[in-house]
């Protein structure tokens, strides 16, 4: 059973359809990147999953519990980190976490131990007596993540956690999220920084204009879309001759020089790739490198979306 299952969710704000029949699932121990252009419906979907909005149609299940049937039970299983996290003035880190631990009904030694654990996990222990107002954005994000973990939720929904962070803070956050997935938590994370997500996520869900365009691993989506995969070829002979030979072969699209070799796009089957290699040999060329390149998240995203906004 998926830890988080979005089932055919539709949400309208007046005439605007913010989310249109969205469906996807997140498995325990996996990180799913939720990507889409601005205004695509990411935050609305996440807020519905977090019980903060109600879907007009469809449902979201957390460990099989519906956000409609039992939002309180869902909240016990869920950790939600909104894009605009809340901070209290004149409050130290420890007081902030202690307050939320109390708000989650943690009591006595359990509460104190849990606050220490999340401070330790997010490496904020040395700053426990610091006021929140004096923290950098990166530290505040970490604190918000610590707060999200207080009640040990099995599902985490992180809305743009890396927004506005410097490269070091991003790497640290990525490591934290990876460690959480390693603990078996299902994580849905949205971000505009696709390279960041590519390094972090086991799978993605792409949304545009409220509709889910694709879900799964980047590789499976690439295969499913039959996107042209760039293939790098290097031969013992001259690269110009290689380029000409490639362009004459069936199934080769857009060959261009790159360093000592040539890159061409191939959208066909493995058989047609083998035919191309055989064609090069027939043409008297001696390949020393013939490498399909992995499709990047950015390429997949750009192929799937048209930049539509609502």
């Amino acid at each position: 059973m998926p830890a988080l299952e979005v089932r055919n969710v539709t949400k309208r704000f007046g005439k605007l359809v913010a989310v249109d029949g969205a469906s996807f699932a997140v498995e325990p121990g996996r990180i799913t990147g939720f990507i889409g252009p601005n205004g695509a419906g990411k935050t609305t979907t996440m807020r519905i999953a977090a019980t903060l909005e109600l879907p007009d149609e469809g449902d979201v299940l957390l460990d099989g519990v519906s956000v409609l049937d039992d939002p309180r039970a869902v909240r016990r299983k869920l950790g939600f980190m909104p894009d605009a996290y809340g901070a209290y003035s004149s409050t130290t880190l420890w007081e902030y976490l202690d307050f939320y631990a109390r708000a989650y009904d943690l009591a006595g030694s359990v509460r104190r131990r849990r606050v220490e654990e999340v401070l330790e996990f997010t490496s904020l222990s040395p700053l426990r007596e610091k006021e929140m107002a004096s923290l950098s954005k990166g530290l505040k994000q970490r604190l918000c993540l610590a707060k999200t973990l207080l009640h040990d939720p099995s599902v985490l929904i992180l809305d743009e956690p890396a927004a506005g962070l410097d490269p070091r803070a991003r790497v640290e956050l990525r490591e934290l999220v990876r460690a959480l997935a390693g603990m078996g938590k299902a994580i849905l994370v949205s971000s505009h920084i696709l390279t960041e997500l590519a390094e972090m996520c086991d799978g993605i869900a792409v949304i545009e204009a409220g509709k889910i365009k694709a879900t799964g691993s980047v590789e499976s989506i690439t295969r499913g879309l039959q996107l042209a995969v760039p293939i790098y070829v290097r031969v013992l002979e001259d690269a110009d001759r290689l380029e000409r030979a490639l362009l004459e072969l069936p199934g080769v699209e857009r060959a261009r020089r790159e360093g000592e070799g040539v890159v061409f796009d191939h959208a066909g089957s493995p058989e047609s790739l083998s035919t191309i290699l055989a064609g090069l040999l027939t043409a008297g060329l001696h390949p020393i490198e013939f490498t399909p390149r992995a499709m990047g998240l950015e390429e997949v995203f750009l192929s799937l979306t048209e930049g539509k906004m609502q």
């Binding site: 007046g14 019980t51 909240r75 939600f80 909104p82 996290y85 809340g86 007081e95 509460r111």
Partner: protein
Amino acid sequence: MSATSDRWNPILLKEVRQALRGKMFAFLFPATVLVGVGLAIAVLIDSYPRSNMGPQVFLPVILVLGIAALGLVPFSSFQSMGAEWDEGTHDLLVLSHLSPTRIVLGKLLTASVESGLYFAAFLPILLFTFLLNGVALQDVLFLVGMLYCASLSMSAIAMSLAGLTRVRFLRVVLLAVLAGIGFLALLGGYELAEQFVLRGRGLGSSFSADAVLAVTTLVFGPGILAFAFAATRIAHPEDDRSGPVRIACTAVLVMTLAGLSWGVLRSGSGMPTYIVAVVVGVLASIFAVFFVTEPERLPRRCAHRIPTNAIRALLLTPFLPGGGRGVIWWFLQLVIVAIWASALESVYPMTISFRDPWSPETFGRWCAFMAYFVVYLAGFSLALAPLCKRSYGPLAARIILPSVAVLSMVLPMFLGFLFDEPRWQHGHHPLSPFDIIDGDGRSGVRIMALLVAFLVLLANAPRLARSVQEVLAASRARRAVLTRIGIEAPRAV
């Protein structure tokens, strides 16, 4: 503190910690105490060596305390509530295990602590005035106690106002409204204190009993309502945002009626019960405007909290959201008022200042008067029900409905001026319910009003039936779900 405070409201702890570290309280508290002490010393020096200096010192000091209790403390509550929207912590709070009621209660407890600190600082000075002669100790304690309660009530009002909107500009307007209410409360409180300590009308006098009754109602009634309203403002739109306010309204109604009974029985004379009953009924009708204009359907998250027992679900029906159930709630209030009036009248018949209140003539008069409210509330809310389904509908209906009622009374008066009809100019026209009470020989209009009200009730019958059926269906559905997942066995009803 951390180890022994597990049962404390988390909001109270957090806000006390914030206040202790914050600059506002750290500056305002000593400044206010200094002003109070300084004023007391100045008045003392100025009044010396009079024999009864108590009132001269007491009044300015309680005025300063009043400014703190009715101004500074509610302002702090207003800011605290508004900050939840501004600082983006509202969502995080909603996702925690804290219920809206606990959140608002926590903020109210914070106000009580803050207010308590002011009172602790001022009480020695106020008690000292007793030693200066001229002020009775019980009066000091009563006035201080009432001021403390008024401070909490004002804080609840402040929170409900702050919860009205997330728009900062509008909140500034609401802050001005709060300041206006605080100012009026301060003036009223000061006048009461003056009556008690300067005019010798303190506890034990005939004035004080009525004053206690009026002040208690004015302090606790709005406070209870504001508390319930503030809690609903924090709740999710699809949660029950109506029930707590309905329950609070009914509680205030019962409290008011109890107070009135005590006042009537104590004084031995007074207004006829009928008049009081109708005034209270009209007040309940004003609150009912908010409930009868709610969307008809039960909010989705509310349906899951309806009792599985059908009888309990039925009893809860008037207190559940929905326009039809709002009409039922209103009827319930009228029934409570009618029972109260009948009971009081049977125990203590008050025929002194009113001609035979039980005569069919008088009874018919009041029934016809209330018939107008049936038309306004049940009739117009039924007509506006389709509008109330839309997001802006309830607000629009809440403007339209009273406007129609007022216009129907005022417009004929203008027509009276236009067509030179003196009776209409003075409000004596068939659309005015007050003419029914005042005027003699209006039996035709009365019968017409009753007939129209009867037709409105007939038209409302399907709506009311649907609203009850919806509750019973939700109760059955919940019972089925709980049985399916094995939480609760079905109960025989």
